[in-house]
């Protein structure tokens, strides 16, 4: 819902002569929007349910998704101050399983009006890197993610891309990847998460298998997802915005806030989603700001960080 309104305000505003003082980058998986309470900015009130569900869908399974109740969806868009403040917004996520189209479709089913170009995922980052290196990947990603690599030549591979792909993490496939890497193929990891949560408990993420392949070949994978610098820089690239002009809001101290700040952005940590007490003390330098919730973060940006000249 938030996304819909933000985009709506942008489109219905005073043209595209925005001065991009700040780029606001949001994470929506894992959600920064959960547990929003009595938000000072109306726009956030809606986002809670929708985005909490996004998280469930992403980390558990599709069937668990409940029917959506977009109660506050039709509120007056003029209240959505963030868009009116004329800043560009981008949504970044470390997904390895879901292509952009599915992501968008689901958001649009929830009445979001969001543009594909506003989403930047670790899969996009991987694709960009493949194009830059001009290589043909062996794709160890789930079928649901393959679409983001459409048009990329994959015959006679000379690179390896690993996402979360339990179906591919068998001995035969890993041997195939190993032999390619030993012959000089670059190893590209969408991210290196140790494990993730499934309905039946914790399950191994791509990280352990990436680590194993690194060991087998004495090489280092190129990690393209958060918290890598290149991930944030890539997300900013098409906006012609420098890291110093951008703010990142996220619930993961290390991967969202720490990663963004290492790139030169300001990082705001929200105490929702996966946040656990004391997380703000786990990174150095500490977050620019730690907020109770996303709306508080938006308020702070509006009041203190935007150049209002």
């Amino acid at each position: 819902m938030l996304l819909g309104f933000i985009v709506g305000v942008l489109n219905n505003g005073d043209g595209c002569s925005y001065t991009r003082r700040f780029l606001i980058v949001f994470v929506f998986f894992p959600s920064v929007f959960s547990r929003c309470c009595s938000p000072p900015v109306q726009l956030v009130a809606v986002t809670q349910q929708a985005l909490v569900r996004q998280k469930q869908v992403n980390t558990k399974s599709q069937e668990e998704e409940e029917p959506n109740k977009p109660v506050v969806l039709r509120k007056d868009p003029s209240k959505f101050l963030l868009r009116r403040a004329k800043v560009a917004v981008k949504f970044v996520t470390n997904t390895t399983k879901e292509c952009k189209r599915t992501l968008l479709e689901r958001l649009r089913c929830l009445s979001f009006d969001i543009e594909e170009r506003e989403i930047f995922t670790s899969l996009t980052a991987a694709r960009n890197l493949l194009e830059l290196k001009d290589v043909r990947p062996l794709l160890l990603v789930e079928d649901s993610a393959r679409e983001d690599f459409a048009g990329i030549e994959t015959t006679d591979p000379n690179a390896v891309v690993i996402g979360l792909a339990p179906d591919h993490f068998n001995y035969e496939m890993l041997n195939k990847a190993f032999r390619l890497i030993l012959d000089g193929a670059p190893l590209i990891a969408i991210h290196k998460a140790r494990y993730y949560k499934r309905k039946d408990g914790l399950a191994l993420g791509p990280g352990p298998f990436v680590t194993g392949l690194e060991y087998s070949t004495d090489t280092q994978a190129t990690v393209v997802g958060k918290p890598e610098k290149t991930f944030f820089l890539e997300a900013l690239r098409d906006l012609n915005c420098s890291p110093e002009e951008a703010v990142m809001i996220g619930d993961d101290a290390r991967d969202d806030v720490g990663g963004a700040q290492n790139t030169g952005m300001l990082g705001i940590l929200v105490k929702t989603g996966k946040y656990r007490a004391g997380d703000e003390g786990k990174i150095n330098p500490p977050p620019h700001l730690t907020c109770e919730s996303f709306p508080e973060a938006v308020n702070h940006i509006l009041q203190h960080l935007l150049d209002t000249k």
Partner: protein, 271 residues
């Protein structure tokens, strides 16, 4: 220059041979002997040197493994062979541990007498096709459910050579579980010093009196050198030319194959 290969062999009293990649190349149908190796073992045995075999092979019980080599023509006895499974079984018994096993089906008989109920550690070997996502997850679950996760790895090799190409070894999966659970595995087998030491004890000789010959630069050669032994690398098996410029391990000598090594050893001992 008494310490240089091959002059150093004048002081050597015992030779330890790695098996896969030195004696034979593994693969479909059990594998094939490397040319000249059957004869080379015979010549070593008829010399005054002691001879032992030291393998990280965990795809079969020691008995079956030795029987396979005998069929290939090697003059070899089970008592001369040191492998990780019997070693890990004695560690488990000593420390009253009940393992969850992620190993090759053919290795299971080695653990027949071991209590595997309510596991309090994980033991992994070269499980090959048993290294499925599901089996890795099962091992992961046991580890993270323990207060003090304990992982034993039978070897830490990166890969080995089969007749149809290089294959991932147990070390890769050890690293994966180490990373997933944020722990460090206990290695049983090469290059663990205890493992080499048990072979030396069996021969009753000092480390500097022993020569290790293997195709794995890091685990065979480097492991033996760290125990004070000499280490030779053969250019067979998993050997790659880049091994000779390895940043941290330099063999005492590089030889084309076991037959060449034995030629040089016996030649220098006659002098």
């Amino acid at each position: 220059m008494a310490d240089q290969w091959p002059e150093c062999v004048s002081r050597v009293k015992g030779v330890i041979l790695d098996m896969c990649g030195v004696l034979y190349d593994s693969g479909e149908g059990g594998g094939v002997p490397i040319e000249g190796s059957v004869e080379a073992v015979r010549r070593l045995k008829s010399s005054d040197l002691q001879l032992r075999f030291c393998t990280n092979e965990t795809q079969a019980t020691r008995e079956k493994f030795v029987a396979k080599l005998q069929r290939m023509g090697f003059d070899i006895d089970v008592r001369e062979v040191f492998s990780p499974a019997p070693a890990v079984v004695s560690v488990l018994k000593e420390r009253c541990l009940r393992p969850h096993l992620l190993v090759h089906d053919d290795l299971l008989p080695e653990f027949d007498g071991v209590d595997k109920s309510d596991p309090n550690c994980v033991v992994i070997g070269d499980a090959a096709d048993n290294f499925s996502y599901q089996n890795m997850n099962a091992a992961f679950h046991v580890l993270i459910s323990l207060d003090k996760p304990l992982l034993f790895s039978m070897g830490r090799g990166r890969y080995y050579k089969e007749t149809d190409g290089l294959k991932l070894d147990v070390g890769v999966y050890m690293k994966a579980l180490e990373y997933a659970c944020d722990l460090e595995a206990e290695v049983v087998g090469k290059p663990a010093p205890m493992f080499f030491q048990s072979v030396l004890n069996d021969m009753g000789i000092q480390p500097h009196e022993a020569l290790m010959i293997g195709d794995d630069l890091v685990n065979d050669v480097g492991g033996a050198q760290r125990c004070g032994m000499k280490g030779l690398q053969v250019r067979t098996g998993k050997y790659r030319p880049s091994d000779e410029t390895h940043p941290t391990v330099t063999a005492d000598g590089y030889v084309d194959n076991l037959a060449c090594a034995v030629d040089a050893i016996l030649e220098h001992r006659r002098v």
